[in-house]
Each structure stands twice: as structure tokens, then as C-alpha cells.
């Protein structure tokens, strides 16, 4: 048998217990077949169009652009997708794949709850059993999404191990899958995990970038100058970036800067981490000198993760994509900015991208254009925002960078 290293240069791979090797090969095979199967693709496209509401708009944010006084900012409106974020692009594809493989049950991990809701939704649509693992801490801060998942017929399983956030939810989902892969598909929510997940999820999310590229071209007659997206595991950013990799368009991924640069204060895996192996792949990782995985912090549950997709590690290493960080406070300021100028309440995750886009737009100057992936809407974050605004939280609006 061939000796294989990662799928993305030195990153990626399949670092899993032997029990999962066969299910991952089965998944890879099923996916390769489905990708070539016109009827599968047609069914997926129909659901994306009629059910999820694609294509999503590429919206020119005129008041925002005017206020910033620089580049024209376009928002790729994934927040307008059914269930409120880009996550549905992936779960529709994976749940269709699960059905095709004859699996009657899907499991998922969730941080902010967006992927959990999107999985529960696709499972309801396709008549699959659904269980969602969610850290206890996240269940508290995203109570609304917990209730939504339950309404959709899913069972939400509280995860009480470790830091009780997204990383531990992935651990628990993997433990479930090791025992149940015969009849269960693990609907992984980001471009992380063992091969083929990073490629599978990327392909399903690339619809974001394909649409954006065509829309921008049609609108302006050229490609944008810059793309900006937030990076937790990295699915909305890879989805936007990937169809532009054959161009010279500048791309910037924005990580959770949290409250500082110390261990446990942020989720800046690519900016501040080192190479390691977690959740089945070799990538960047926030770890201590012994290789123990560090706790993370972000005001947005979806970016509160110590790992990152291996393809991002590869793009960073090649210098193709630039990665930077935005603090909790800057993200809060960006929520305000977008609400006031455009009447759009972004998810706290997406607000990280908006915050960076604001400072980039000023630098870039008029005549240039910038596409921001607005990966989700902010309704789920209202209680976090209230706590921050009314002083119930240690985090305050820090204003945007000059």
C-alpha cells in the first residue's frame, strides 16, 4: 500500500484510529462517485436553488463604502441562505451523500450552533436521524440555536469534557462515529478533520466563490482586488477563496484575535500556532510545548477552535493567502458599523471579516473593490451583543482600526 502524506503538501492526511480507516475510504469512494454522477449533482443544485435560496446576492455596500472612503465593498450574502449561514451548502451535500451511502443517521459537532442547525435542517428535509454534539459552554451562549435544533427534530447532546466548546464537541462526535459508522455519517462542519473531509467540504462550499467571481465579473467587468473572510476551521473562507486560486486576487483570512496574544486568549491558529496533529489532520494548531492542545477564546463561538483546515495551512505556507487577526472588541465595532450603515446584523464570526475589510478598504482607496464573505446573520448573537453593550461582559467595543 502506498505511503501517503497529507493531501495539501505536508498538511492534511488521515490520522485516525484503524476503526475509522475503512469508513473514511468508503466516504471518499462515495464522494468521488457522487461528484461524477449528474443526477446527484442535479439534485444538490435543485436543493441549493429552491430550498437554500442560492445564488446568494453579491451586494454592493454603498453607504459602508462611502463611510470608509476607500475601496468599494461588496458583501457576499451567505447570511441570506436558509438557516442563516453558509453552513447549509455543506450539510445539504453531505446529507444527500449520507442517504446515497445508505446511512440512516447523521451526527455533527457545532460551536455557534449554525452548523448544528444546518445539519438538523438537512436531516429533517431528507428524513435522517440527527444528533448534534455541542459544548456546554456553547449551549449556554447559543441557547436560541439549541432550541432551533430541537424544533427541527435533532437531539442536542451536551459535551462536558475539556473546555466544553467546539474542539470537545468534535472529540465527542468522533467517539460516536468510531462506534456507529456502519449506519452513521459524520457530517463534519468545516474544512478540518481527516481526508476526505477537507476536500469534500471545500468542494461543497466553493459555490460561494464561484458565484462571487461570476457576479463580480458581470457587474464590474473584472475580478475584485481583494477577498476577505473569517477563519475558524475555515469553510466559508476556503469556499470564497478556492475558485480564485488561479488568479492573482489578494486574499486575506481573518482569525479570532480574542482578548490578547496569550494562551487561552484567542483563536489565532495560523497567526500564532505551530504545526501539529489534531482531529485527524496535520495542520496548524494552538498547542503548548508538550503538544497538549490549548484552550481558546473568542467572542464568537464559531471561531473558538484551536485547529484550522489543512488547506489553509498549505495556502499560508505557500504565501498565497495572508492571515491576520481581529480582536473581540474590533468585531463588536464592526457589528455596529454594518448595522448602522447597511441595516445588516452580521454574525460575530463574519463581523471579524467586516472589521478587517473596513481597514483594508481605507488603505486600498477608491476605484478598487473588495469582496467580504458575510458568512452568517447575527440573530443568534443578540444576547452576547446585549451583554457586551450593557456591560455584562468584559468585552467592549474597541472601535475600528484607524
Amino acid at each position: 500500500m502506498p505511503q501517503r502524506r497529507g493531501s495539501f503538501g505536508n498538511f492534511g492526511g488521515r490520522f485516525v484510529p484503524e476503526t475509522l480507516v475503512a469508513p473514511l475510504l468508503e466516504l471518499e469512494q462515495a464522494y468521488l462517485e457522487a461528484r461524477e454522477d449528474a443526477s446527484f449533482q442535479e439534485e444538490l443544485e435543485n436543493y441549493l436553488h429552491d430550498y437554500a435560496g442560492r445564488p446568494t446576492a453579491l451586494y454592493e455596500a454603498r453607504r459602508l463604502s462611502r463611510e470608509l472612503g476607500g475601496a468599494t465593498v461588496f458583501l457576499k450574502r451567505e447570511d441570506l441562505c436558509h438557516t442563516g449561514s453558509h453552513k447549509i451548502n455543506n450539510t445539504l451535500g453531505q446529507c444527500l451523500l449520507a442517504r446515497r451511502m445508505g446511512k440512516r443517521r447523521v451526527i455533527a459537532e457545532t460551536g455557534a450552533g449554525q452548523h448544528g442547525v444546518a445539519t438538523a435542517t438537512a436531516a429533517a428535509l431528507l428524513g435522517l436521524e440527527c444528533e448534534v454534539y455541542m459544548g456546554e459552554v456553547d449551549m449556554e451562549r447559543q441557547a436560541l440555536n439549541v432550541f432551533r435544533m430541537e424544533l427541527l427534530g435533532a437531539r442536542v447532546v451536551p459535551v462536558r469534557s475539556g473546555s466544553r466548546t467546539l474542539k470537545d464537541a468534535v472529540n465527542e462526535a468522533l467517539r460516536d462515529w468510531v462506534a456507529t459508522a456502519d449506519y452513521t455519517h459524520y457530517c463534519l462542519g468545516s474544512v478540518v478533520g481527516p481526508h476526505p473531509f477537507p476536500s469534500l467540504v471545500r468542494d461543497l462550499q466553493s459555490v460561494i466563490g464561484r458565484e462571487a467571481r461570476e457576479q463580480h465579473l458581470r457587474r464590474t467587468g473584472r475580478l475584485p482586488d481583494c477577498l476577505v473572510a473569517c477563519v475558524g476551521g475555515g469553510s466559508n473562507s476556503i469556499g470564497l477563496f478556492h475558485p480564485f486560486l488561479d488568479t492573482t486576487v489578494r486574499m486575506v483570512g481573518v482569525e479570532a484575535g480574542g482578548t490578547g496574544e496569550g494562551p487561552g486568549e484567542h483563536g489565532s491558529t495560523l497567526c500564532l500556532g505551530s504545526v501539529g496533529v489534531l482531529h485527524g489532520a496535520r495542520s496548524f494548531l494552538l498547542q503548548d510545548e508538550d503538544g497538549q492542545v490549548l484552550e481558546t477564546h473568542s467572542i464568537s463561538a464559531g471561531l473558538d477552535y484551536p485547529g484550522v483546515g489543512p488547506e489553509h495551512a498549505y495556502l499560508k505556507e505557500r504565501g498565497r493567502v495572508q492571515y491576520t487577526r481581529v480582536s473581540d472588541g474590533e468585531a463588536l465595532a464592526a457589528v455596529d458599523l454594518l448595522c448602522r450603515t447597511e441595516g445588516i446584523l452580521p454574525a460575530l464570526e463574519s463581523a471579524h471579516a467586516v472589521a478587517l475589510a473596513a481597514s483594508l478598504a481605507r488603505e486600498m482607496g477608491p476605484g478598487s473593490s473588495l469582496v467580504v464573505c458575510l458568512s452568517g446573520r447575527g440573530d443568534k448573537d443578540v444576547s452576547t451583543l446585549m451583554a457586551a453593550k450593557r456591560g455584562g461582559s468584559a468585552v467592549h467595543d474597541e472601535g475600528l482600526r484607524p
Binding site: P17, E18, V21, G280
Partner: protein, 264 residues
Amino acid sequence: MNRIDEMFRGSDGKAVLIGFTTAGFPDGESSLRLAQGLLAHCDALELGIPFSDPVLDGPVIQESSLRALRAGFRPRDVFPLAQRLRELSDKPLLLMTYYNPVHRLGHAPFAAAAAAAGIDGVLIPDLPPEEMGDWKEVASQHGLHTVLFASMTTPPERLRYLGEMTGGFLYCFAVKGTTGLRDSLSRDLAPFLKRVRSCCSVPLAAGLGVSNPEQCREVAGMADGVVVGSALVKSALDAIAAGLDPAPAAAELAAELKRSLQRT
């Protein structure tokens, strides 16, 4: 010759008992006594390196791992622990570790430290052979066996490959799932071990979910070794919860398990 090979060669057709405990559990000093007590009755001992994200472990070993980490135990502390056990016993010692701590320290430094401490074999459950890079080679240069795993989901062709690649023995997962106690053995275990036997000529040890003397005896009829982990760690945890010394409690269970194998 590697002590693991000697153990299987000298076992006289009887299944050997391989115990497991988490290194550094419940704390550095007690961990040595706990391991020593187990080693007195088991034929070999696996020391688990505590890791922050033990995805293949159920609640019992997760708990022991967490306690060891909270007590300040670091992966590199396993080497002096093994060294002290080696001074007390000539039985095979193995390290069970997730891959990231090995990756972090580096293959060569890890293998060198393990060999110097008197370790005979290393088990890395989240490192399938395709991802090993130079690990197996480096380990074997230091005289260490790299023990591979087989699962009920593994097809025959791959079983043959794993049988050729493994060192010392092939660790056969007795359940599909994580470590932990089970009420009964899987009905699929016997056909699985038969399948592995027909594909591989190395000694086979079965573990995961083997919890009591009856189950040990049953497995002993089908494999060359039985691995018991969670049950031993749980007896230690139970003793601690009752305000008792965990070392003799775990040793007593190990003795009972060993007796059950001698009667087969």
C-alpha cells in the same frame, strides 16, 4: 531480542495479560506504585501518556488522563517513570500515546528517550501506517516495536498488510468504539479474530471493552494476549472515591484477571 517477542515465545500457548494504566495518574508518585502493582501480576504493562484530546478513550481513561494532567504530569515525565519500573522488573513495557505529543517532541528524540528508559514497544492509535513517515524506522533503530491495530472494519487485504507491518503483536480492537467497560463481548469478536488469524502470522492481542475475568477467559481462547485498561483504571478511581489506596485495589483486580487466564 525484544522483551515483547520473548514474552509471547515463552507463554506456552497461554494467553498473556497486558495491563494498562495512565502515566501520572492519579499523580506522579502514586502512579509509580499503581504501575508497579499492576506489573506484579500482568505479563506486560502499557503506560498511557495523558493527552488533552483523547478521542479514542471513553469516560474512565479520559478521567485518568485529566487527573494526571491536572496533577502537572507532562508527557516527558513518562520516561523517568518507565525507567524506575524497568529497574524493578524485566517484563515488557509499552507506551500508548496519541500522535501529537510524539510529533511535537520529534520522532528521533521520542524514540531515543523511550529506548533509554527501557521501553520495548510503542502504540500510537491515531497513527495508521500510511501516516507514519519515518517513525517506524526510527523506532526500530532504537530497538522499539511499533505495535499496529486491527479493527472489525479492516478488510482482509489490509489485515495482511498490518500483520506484516506490526512489531511484536497485532492489537485487535475487540469492539467498534472507544475504550471503556462493556457488559459483554461483541458477538463479532470471534469471527473477527478468526479472520485476523487467517491473514496474519504474528501474535494477536485483543483489547478495548475487556473488563472482567469471564471476558478475559473468553478472549484467551481466541487470542494470544488480552489487554485490560479501563477496568483497572476504574478500580483505581473507585478506590480513590472511597478514600482508599488505588494501587492495591488495581493490583488485586490484575491478580484476579491473571488467575482467570491461568485456568484456561
